[in-house]
C-alpha cells in the first residue's frame, strides 16, 4: 500500500478507530473527502458560503438602504446596458419601479432567504423526524394513526395548504415559513419511519434496550443520530423547493410583506416590466436560480456520499 499519512489526517483516515467519537469523526472525514472530490457539490457549497458572507456583510456591501426610493430614477437599467443615461450614478444592477437599488435589495434579500431556509430546515425535518421515529419505533396503533395523518398531509395539494395556512394566519414571513414547514414535514416523517423500522429490530437496539434504556433515550440517543444523514441529504435537496415555494408565496403576495426585499416578491413586482425592463424581475430570478442550484448541487453530491441506496461499488 502507498504512503501512510500522518498527523490529524492520519488520525481521521485510520482503519482502526480508538473510540466511538474517533470512528464517527473518521466517517465524517471520509464523507467529506468524497464530497470534496465532487467539483459540482463544492461549487454549490462555495456559492452558499458566498451567500452567507454577502448576507452577513449586507449593510457594508450594499450601496444603499434596501427601501430607499428615488421615484425619479425608477427603472434605471443596469450599468452595462447601452441605452442607460450615463449621468446616473450607482444602480449597478439597475433600479426597480420605485427607484430602489436592486443590488442593495438583493443583498438584503439574501438575509431573508437564509432566514427562511434556516427556519424551515429546522422546523420541518425535526417535526418529521419526531413523528417518523415515534411511529416507526412504537408501531401498532400509534404508527397507523401517525402515518395516516402523514398521508393526509401528503395528499393535500402543497401550495394550497401553504396558501390556506398563510391566508388563515395572515401574510408574513414567519407565517410563510410555518406554512412551508407544514407542507414539508411529511416526507421527512416517512424517511425517518423507514429508517427507524430497519434500525428498530437490529441487535444493537436490542442490546441497548436490554441495558435498560428508556423509550426517549433510545429514540433520541440511538435512533435519531442514525436517521440524520439521510434527512440532511433530503433537506439539502429540498432547499431549492423551499426557496421556490417561498418565492411562490411572495409571488402570490402572501410571503414577505413590503417593503421587505424578499426575492420572490421582487420577481412578482418586476414581472409586470418583464418585456421592457427585464432586469427588475431577472436579477432576483437569477439570484433565486443560483441559490437553488447551489443547494441542489450540494444536496446531490451529498446524496452520492451519504445515501446508502446509491450503491457504491
Amino acid at each position: 500500500m502507498s504512503i501512510q499519512p500522518t498527523g490529524l489526517r492520519a488520525w481521521l483516515l485510520t482503519d482502526t478507530p480508538t473510540s466511538r467519537h474517533h470512528a464517527r469523526m473518521a466517517a465524517y472525514y471520509q464523507a467529506w473527502l468524497s464530497l470534496k472530490s465532487n467539483h459540482m457539490a463544492m461549487f454549490g457549497l462555495g456559492i452558499l458560503l458566498l451567500l452567507v458572507i454577502l448576507a452577513a456583510f449586507a449593510p457594508i456591501l450594499a450601496p444603499a438602504a434596501p427601501d430607499f426610493q428615488i421615484l425619479d430614477l425608477r427603472l434605471t437599467p443596469p450599468v452595462w446596458v447601452s441605452d442607460r443615461d450615463p449621468n446616473i450614478d450607482g444602480f449597478i444592477l439597475g433600479s426597480d419601479s420605485l427607484g430602489r437599488d436592486i443590488l442593495s435589495r438583493l443583498l438584503y434579500g439574501s438575509r431573508i432567504t437564509l432566514y427562511i431556509v434556516a427556519l424551515v430546515a429546522l422546523i420541518a425535518p425535526i417535526a418529521g423526524l419526531f413523528v417518523g421515529t415515534v411511529a416507526g419505533y412504537t408501531g401498532g396503533w400509534i404508527d397507523i394513526i401517525l402515518m395516516r395523518i402523514t398521508d393526509i398531509f401528503l395528499a393535500f395539494p402543497r401550495l394550497v395548504l401553504a396558501l390556506a395556512f398563510v391566508a388563515a394566519l395572515g401574510a408574513g414571513i414567519e407565517n410563510a415559513v410555518l406554512a412551508i414547514s407544514l407542507t414539508a414535514w411529511p416526507p421527512y416523517a416517512r424517511i425517518a419511519r423507514a429508517e427507524t423500522l430497519t434500525i428498530r429490530n437490529s441487535d444493537y437496539i436490542h442490546a441497548v434496550r436490554l441495558q435498560g434504556a428508556g423509550f426517549i433515550r433510545i429514540i433520541t440517543k440511538h435512533i435519531w443520530p442514525l436517521c440524520i444523514s439521510s434527512l440532511v441529504v433530503r433537506v439539502t435537496l429540498d432547499m431549492a423547493g423551499i426557496i421556490l415555494a417561498a418565492a411562490g408565496l411572495g409571488f402570490l403576495g402572501l410571503g414577505a410583506q413590503p417593503p421587505m426585499a424578499e426575492w420572490g416578491a421582487m420577481i412578482s413586482e418586476g414581472r409586470r416590466f418583464i418585456l421592457d425592463h427585464w432586469w427588475v424581475a431577472t436579477m432576483p430570478g437569477l439570484a433565486i436560480f443560483t441559490v437553488s442550484l447551489a443547494f441542489n448541487l450540494l444536496g446531490d453530491g451529498m446524496r452520492d456520499v451519504l445515501d446508502p441506496k446509491e450503491g457504491k461499488s
Partner: protein, 283 residues
C-alpha cells in the same frame, strides 16, 4: 497437455483516495482439463482473480498481466465484443448466492434459455427444449414448472442448480465457481457440488474452484493455490496438502476442526506481514 488457460503475473489494481490498492498481486498459474482450487480468506484476492480472467473488473479497476491466454490466444488484447463471445461460451462463472445472482424479475427458464440463445442461433422452442434438458441434468424434477418460476420462489439449493444449468448450457471450456456453496445449507451443499463435479467431468471442462474452505477444496480438486493478501503463497497437489510448507497454509489447516484428530482448542491463525511482501509463487 495443452493448457486451457495460462496466467502470468496478473495484477488487479484499484485507485483509492489513499493511493493505488493492489487486490491481486502478480498471480501466475495454468489450468488444464483439471480442477484447480483457489483458497484464501476473504479479501485475499481469490474472487478478483476469477473475475479478472473474465475481464469483469469494473472501472476504475485495472487488470494487468504479462500473459493471460485462453487456448494460447491472449485475452487482454481482445475487444469488449470479442470478450462477449468468450464469456459464457468459453469461460463461465457460478457465483456465491443464487438469491442475488439470479435476476429477480425474470422467469428462471428465460434466464437459462437466454444464456443458450446468446451463443446459439436457435428458435425459442429449441432453446426451451434445451433448457428443460439442462434443468433435468442438474437433477431438477418437474422442470416444466420450475421453468416458469421466479427466482424468489425457489430454494437456495435449487437456485444454485439453476445457476449451474445456466452456466453450463453454452458448454464452456472453463468453469469458474466462486464459492458456489457457501450460501447454501450444509445439507444441500454436497448435493450441488456433486452435480457440478459430475457435469464438469462429463464435459471435460477445466474448473477453477474458489473457496475459503480448505478441506472442501482439497477433497474436491486436483490442485490448490493458497492466496494471502493478493499473492499466491503456496501451490500444492490436493493430496499433498498435509505436506504444506508455508506457515499460512499450515495455520489454515490447523485452524480447522478435524474429526480424526480432535484438539481441545483450535489454534488461532497467525499472520506475518512479511508473507504479503514476498513474491507470488508460480505453479
Amino acid at each position: 497437455m495443452t493448457n486451457l488457460l495460462d496466467v502470468e503475473n496478473l495484477w488487479v489494481r484499484f485507485p483509492t483516495r489513499n493511493g493505488i490498492f493492489d487486490a491481486v498481486r502478480g498471480v501466475s498459474f495454468s489450468l488444464g482439463k483439471e480442477r484447480l482450487g483457489i483458497v484464501g480468506e476473504s479479501g485475499s484476492g481469490k474472487s478478483m482473480t476469477g473475475r479478472a480472467i473474465l475481464r469483469l473488473i469494473r472501472k476504475p479497476g485495472m487488470v494487468e498481466a504479462d500473459r493471460m491466454d485462453l487456448d494460447g490466444v491472449p485475452l487482454l488484447t481482445r475487444t469488449e465484443k470479442e470478450m462477449r463471445s468468450v464469456r459464457g461460451q468459453k469461460i463461465s462463472m457460478i457465483m456465491q448466492d443464487p438469491k442475488f445472482s439470479l435476476n429477480p424479475v425474470m422467469r428462471v427458464g428465460k434466464q437459462i434459455s437466454e444464456a443458450y440463445r446468446l451463443h446459439n442461433r436457435v428458435s425459442k422452442a429449441e432453446a426451451k427444449a434445451k433448457t428443460l434438458e439442462m434443468l433435468e441434468a442438474v437433477a431438477i424434477r418437474d422442470v416444466e414448472r420450475v421453468y416458469e418460476m421466479y427466482p424468489h420462489e425457489v430454494s437456495g439449493g435449487m437456485g444454485q442448480r439453476i445457476m449451474i444449468a445456466m452456466m453450463l448450457i453454452p458448454n464452456p471450456e472453463i468453469m469458474i465457481a466462486d464459492e458456489p456453496t457457501s450460501a447454501l445449507d450444509v445439507s444441500v451443499q454436497m448435493q450441488v457440488l456433486e452435480i457440478m463435479d459430475k457435469l464438469v467431468v462429463e464435459r471435460g471442462m477445466g474448473l477453477i474452484f474458489i473457496s475459503h474452505d480448505l478441506n472442501l477444496v482439497s477433497s474436491f480438486c486436483d490442485r490448490v493455490l493458497i492466496m494471502y493478501s493478493g499473492r499466491v503463497v503456496e501451490t500444492l497437489k490436493a493430496d499433498q496438502l498435509h505436506n504444506a510448507q508455508h506457515p499460512y497454509t499450515r495455520g489454515l489447516l490447523d485452524s480447522l476442526p478435524r474429526l480424526d484428530a480432535p484438539v481441545d482448542r483450535l489454534s488461532v491463525l497467525q499472520r506475518d506481514p512479511e508473507w504479503a511482501k514476498a513474491e507470488s509463487v508460480t505453479s
